[in-house]
Amino acid sequence: MSTGAPPETARPEAAGRPAAARRRARRPGGRPLLYTSYAQDMALLDTRAKKIWFYGIVLAALLASQVLVDDMLSLLAMAYVVAIGAIGLNIVTGYAGQVSLGHAFFLAIGAYTGAAISGDPDGRVLGLGVTSILVWLPAAGLAAALAGVIVAPLATRLRGLYLAIVTLGLVFLGEHIFKEWDQLTGGPGVGRPAAVVELFGLRLDRPGPLGSKEQQLYLLMLVLLVVFAVAARNLARSRIGRGFAAIRDRDIAAEVIGVPLTRYKLLAFAISSFYAGCAGALLYTVTGFFDPGSFNLLMSVQFIAMVLIGGVATISGSIAGALFITLLPRLTRELPALVPVISADTTQTPNVFQVETVLYGLLIVLFLVFEPRGLFGVWIRVRNYWKSWPFSY
């Protein structure tokens, strides 16, 4: 991408210029890859195509809230929240290269913090009654980030698969704690109400000025996803993001060139857990209720699947992967109509749930074997094909 960019040192006056002047450094028409300033080279949307796609997709997603049926909207809202969690996992696993199978644990911490802060103080389960999302969402994120910071010292001592197994142990320990602590979680099989979504005195989980309950939640999740995704993208191109990449590629080499290993691994876990915590707190606001049994190994594996199917170390890939995995059950539910062998009844033997689980597994294997860059890689291939069309090289 940066082929046409002159090195910054060649134009020392560019750095000192005010922002308004820098913005005027336009690239000549018909030369989309020629950068004439450092700011252009580092821009998040560095080509016109990216700009068009980004604003186009956001606009389409906004319009979708008016077009789609409520049922579909709540599914998409869920997918957006899951995407926030997937971005979180991608930060620690994709960018910083620390394999974590414990993502479900951090989601659980966020979910229970959010639900406890906003819960009914007189209810059956613990609740503080502070319903403003501006309070409980950051609190949920911070609580999970704190847990991440506590876990991180292990990560600085362990590498690779040792770390994967330890984080897997974390999921089991968390599951036990949440099942036993029924004052907070309601206990297994019973569950508790999720966080109450209230913004500036407006309850978003009831029909309001922005439309039905589903439309409001959809819009909220969309806005939050954009905020979180842009923030993550911004992080990835910063000094910290480059530090993460260096650690992923070779941690000792990174230390040698001056990346403080301990602090950066800690930071990676903290940020990733923050994302997970926020996603956890939001995840069940759509359905309204959740059970301590849901934060199990399968959830962690699903998040890993999203990151791998979407594309390791890409934000757009995380979102694509999250949408894909969340919408997959909806697609498989249509299967019995098409393939009569597959039954919609859970007691029959090839049933939709089995097909769905097999698909998770198979997709992980197939993507890793044939397209390691995931959906993002597929997109790159398609893009390059049309870019060089009609030449195939």
Binding site: Y162, I165, F172, K179, E180, I252, L308, T357
Partner: protein, 295 residues
């Protein structure tokens, strides 16, 4: 005292099953540097195969056949999904095994159905009196089987041609290749061993209470065992398995009296607690070799 000894024997019995599973993990790890998360599916697959075969051939023959069957399946999976990934990052291969596990388990669950399947073992829950202790026969059977298999395995690695090849490949793949060892065969053998061991372990897990769709979780307790013992140590795997089994059994016996605040069924998660404690002290397990770090 009597209760303590009984609890210890139960722990050793369960621990020897964990040890068999852990050996499978370690054998694959030593050959390919990958932790195979597919072990739970092989374990449950073996148990289910026995539950079907035992009606026809009797329990013991069924166990051998199931071990061979699962070993063959593992061999096939290695060839199709793992071999093409040689040279790719270990994390990627580990995640592939996770995917394989999910797929195989769904298929096996189809054979289990919604009920508990009995493996048709001759022991059931019946007890035997040894020196005043009431001990379940199956714990003793597990211990005996594990001792026999571990002995055979160590003899295999020590005295046979292929055992030597596997040790050589574990030490240094390229040098082994240069000496004429077929590393591909070593990979295949290691997966077959892991599958067979897991199948036998699964059969023993199924003795007494049978297998259902949730039994696979037991296989994951071998992960703390290998971490405690050290990822690349066969002896460590056995020791780790036994340690995890004994600690779990003791906690199961005494935790409800001594520390009720830990909650019911705390024993299920004790392997992970043990693992965390050991890792805080020794990041490479009790018997594992410390990784030499080079840029």
């Amino acid at each position: 005292m009597k209760a303590l000894l009984e609890s210890l024997i139960r722990g050793l019995g369960n621990g020897s099953v964990y040890a068999l599973l852990a050996l499978g993990f370690v054998i694959v790890y030593k050959a390919t540097r990958v932790i195979s998360f597919a072990q739970p599916s092989f374990m449950i697959g073996g148990a289910v195969a026995v539950s079907y075969l035992a009606e026809v051939t009797g329990f013991y023959l069924a166990m051998v056949l199931a071990a061979l069957l699962v070993a063959a399946v593992a061999l096939g999976i290695e060839r199709v999904a793992i071999r093409p990934m040689v040279g790719r990052p270990v994390f990627v291969v580990a995640i592939i095994t996770l995917g394989i596990d999910v797929v195989v388990r769904v298929v096996v669950n189809g054979f289990i159905g919604l009920d508990v399947r009995q493996v048709g073992d001759p022991w059931g829950l019946s007890l035997v009196e040894i020196g005043g202790l009431a001990v379940q026969q199956r714990w003793l059977a597990m211990l005996a089987a594990a001792a026999l298999l571990v002995g055979l395995l160590f003899a295999f690695f020590r005295y046979t041609r292929y055992g030597l090849a596997m040790r050589a490949a574990a030490l240094d793949q390229e040098t082994a290749l240069a000496q004429g060892v077929s590393v591909g065969t070593v990979f295949a053998l290691s997966w077959a061993f892991a599958g067979g061991l897991a199948a036998i372990a699964g059969t023993f897990v199924g003795t007494g209470q049978g297998v259902d769709q949730l039994t696979w979780i037991i296989a994951l307790k071998a992960l703390p065992a290998i971490i405690v013992g050290g990822l690349d140590s066969l002896g460590g795997a056995v020791a780790g398995g036994l340690i995890v089994g004994v600690v779990e059994s003791l906690v199961q016996s005494y935790q409800s009296d001594l520390a009720p605040w830990l909650g019911q069924n705390f024993a299920i998660v004790t392997p992970y607690v043990v693992m965390l404690l050991v890792l805080l002290v020794r990041p490479y397990g009790l018997f594992g070799t410390r990784e030499v770090e080079r840029v």
